[in-house]
């Protein structure tokens, strides 16, 4: 009873949704929309479970004066202030708190929620920069590709990028040529000749690269996004879809039961 009924409910719900896809007529036609509405309603109540856990965890911290109890108090206070503000708008002023005229949207959303959220996400710019320093070192051909694609896309999509990019890439090529010349001094024989040829090729490449980037950088960035980037993403999406479908079938047929623990 405790395991069989949930497995049966999962099976019936999953199968009915799949049948609804193939029989778009009554009573199956509306089934997907109806079930989706039900899922949204049940999902709304599920959030109460999460909130209970969040509030209890922080209340325990305050009660036992554990480390970080002051922040926990701010969390609980901000939760209830926001809750009363939002619902109060509906109860006392009979308007949706998300209306443009509502104080909830005008003050809470604009001056509290947006600054907190966008500053939190903007901080990632700094951490991404430090991660990029480690990930983007051109230590092998693949990381060089990663670095070049990121640089071309970034410079190709920002105002002024087209003016800066040729100089950056020309400077990088110059450094590369210097590196090859330096390496040629340390070696001898065929290896030395190879390094010298590589250095000369790099020097010759500076002008065409400078010219192409000066005139076609936006086109190159678009091409990267539309062809190689799209090809790899398609491969990943197809893989995700196949994996997701396999996992869904396992759940529907009761092979995967971890959600019942």
């Amino acid at each position: 009873m405790k395991r069989e009924v949930p497995l049966f409910i999962t099976f019936i719900t999953g199968i009915l949704i799949i049948i609804a896809l193939f029989i778009p007529h009554k009573p199956f036609g509306q089934l997907q929309t109806t079930f989706n509405d039900w899922l949204i309603i049940v999902g709304g109540f599920t959030m109460i479970l999460g909130l209970d856990s969040l509030l209890l965890h922080n209340w325990e911290k305050i009660k036992r004066k554990k480390e970080g109890w002051l922040s926990a108090a701010f969390l609980i206070a901000s939760f209830f202030i926001t809750l009363f503000w939002g619902f109060g708008e509906g109860i006392f002023f009979h308007r949706n708190p998300f209306d443009a005229s509502a104080t909830f949207l005008r003050y809470f959303y604009t001056y509290i929620f947006v600054p907190l959220q966008s500053t939190m996400f903007s901080l990632l710019a700094f951490f991404i920069a430090s991660a990029a320093y480690r990930a983007f070192r051109a230590k092998d051909p693949n990381s060089t590709l990663l670095l070049s694609a990121a640089a071309l896309v970034m410079l190709g999509r920002v105002p002024g990028g087209q003016a800066v990019a040729p100089w950056i890439f020309a400077f990088v090529l110059l450094l590369l040529a210097y590196y090859f010349f330096n390496e040629s001094k340390k070696t001898s024989g065929t290896q030395q000749t190879v390094y010298i040829i590589l250095a000369i090729i790099t020097l010759i490449l500076i002008y065409p690269v400078f010219y192409i980037l000066l005139h076609y950088l936006n086109g190159i960035a678009d091409w990267i996004m539309n062809i190689p980037q799209m090809a790899a993403k398609r491969g990943i999406w197809i893989g995700i879809s196949l994996g997701g479908i396999a996992m869904s079938l396992r759940i529907i047929f009761g092979i995967e039961k971890t959600y019942l623990r």
Partner: protein, 216 residues
């Protein structure tokens, strides 16, 4: 322009600076800002779910609908009630029925959604002609090469993620081509993410300098 006298702008500036203070080190101002964000986001989400999902679909539906479409709403209401049974320990197991419904729905929608939204459209978009005629020879080569690269990139990326066979011999060679495409894709995605974050940062700095301090 002069410094703002609006108390709400000062609150927003204080919260922005509190969050930014993490760049120096983890401190009490950042911790308070972070916890205010978590608490207010949770309440915000709850209010949003009530006004946009539960109220219009359940409460208003029950009041405004008639006949079968009205009484059928008892099922999601009952399932929601079962979900809350998790708080009543002796009958907590009954909440599994509601969980089973949401999991079954997720699995069913997963299959239909992935099939309709991802798998079929992606495969359809990859079935391309290898030869495309352009208005010049150079254009023909460019268009055909683009299609060949799209097909090659897609197939090799799939092979790279195929772990049922050991990556040796030809499979290894194809998966190495896949890595090349994946690296370009990750690089491009990284570039996009960095740009999005930087523009958020510019927005916050502009708020501090323009709306708060009135310097620019």
């Amino acid at each position: 322009m002069s410094i703002s006298l609006n108390p709400w702008v000062w609150i927003a500036a204080f919260l922005t600076l509190s969050m930014m203070s993490f760049l120096y080190k983890d401190n009490i101002f950042y911790k308070i800002g972070e916890h205010i964000y978590v608490g207010s986001s949770a309440a915000f989400m709850l209010i949003y779910l009530w006004y946009f999902d539960v109220k219009p679909k359940l409460i208003d539906g029950f009041i405004n609908n008639t006949g079968f479409s009205r009484w059928i709403l008892i099922i999601p209401a009952f399932l929601s009630l079962l979900m809350l049974m998790r708080f009543v320990r002796p009958v907590a197991w009954i909440s599994r029925w509601a969980i089973a419904f949401t999991v079954g729905m997720g699995a069913g929608l997963g299959i239909t959604g992935l099939l309709q939204g991802f798998l079929v459209p992606q495969i359809k978009a990859t079935i391309l002609p290898l030869y495309v005629s352009g208005h010049s020879t150079l254009m023909t080569i460019y268009l055909s090469l683009n299609n060949i690269l799209l097909i090659l990139g897609t197939l090799s990326a799939i092979v790279y993620f195929y772990f049922s066979k050991e990556h040796t011999g030809p499979v290894k060679k194809i998966s190495q081509i896949g890595i090349t495409f994946i690296m370009v894709a990750f690089g491009a995605s990284f570039g996009y993410t960095v740009m999005a974050r930087i523009s958020l940062l510019i927005g916050r700095v502009y708020f501090l300098l323009h709306n708060w301090l009135g310097l620019v």
